[in-house]
Amino acid sequence: MEAFDFIEMKVPAKEEYVGVVRLSISGIANRMGFTYEDIEDLKVAISEAVTNAVTHAYEANEEGEVTIGFGIYESRLEVMVADHGGSFNLSEVKNGIGPYENNESIENLREGGFGLFLMQALMDKVEIKNDSGVIVLMTKYIDEIGVGFDDDHVSTTK
């Protein structure tokens, strides 16, 4: 199996915590060696997914949690956002998911206006599953150029 690190966050389904998740993703993406532009894309895409989850919980009149999982691979970042608490079963989530289709079952999500559109525009791959709660799985690849996990720089001049 391909090696990866996994980071999980659970935050209350409240708007005030979207920015906290955004700071976390910017740290993770920075560590992975994403470019400035890609980090900004990731911040928007993940904020959109978390905002959707928060709105969903709000409309359902729930005091829920949003769970965000970050799968950190050498070449890519996979982000999962689920609007019902509980840990991810990665393989289950990934098997059950298909590409986004414009059908009624995600009407709710589309209320976010341009949210889903931005996710798809800014990430390399977006998959959405609407079952018990909505799960969004997004992938962004690290650009080939200038990538490196070791981002310390030592320069020496004499």
Partner: protein
Amino acid sequence: MNLDINVTENSEKYLVHLSGEIDAYTSQKLKDTLLPLTKKKGYTLVVDLEQVNYMDSTGLGVFISVLKATKEAESSMTLINLKERVRKLFKITGLDQIININLDERGVND
């Protein structure tokens, strides 16, 4: 993560300086501040985004609402000094076609 909003009125113009991030948390306050400023016929609402270092679709939603309100009240809205990142969102969504964005305007602080 926060958003500071500063409003100045000057000869049929409201100048709104934003500083910070526009997201789900801060966009409600932004909308509540901007909408009342669209009500005077002939007025222009100028929103300076130079200090906005983050925006997502919730910000787009606010500016769409405000645009609609200006049409109703026969006022107008112009966005100025957008950072490249913020401009990108208006561009890829096509909203730069319906929202008046002035990239060159500078020095309107007075």
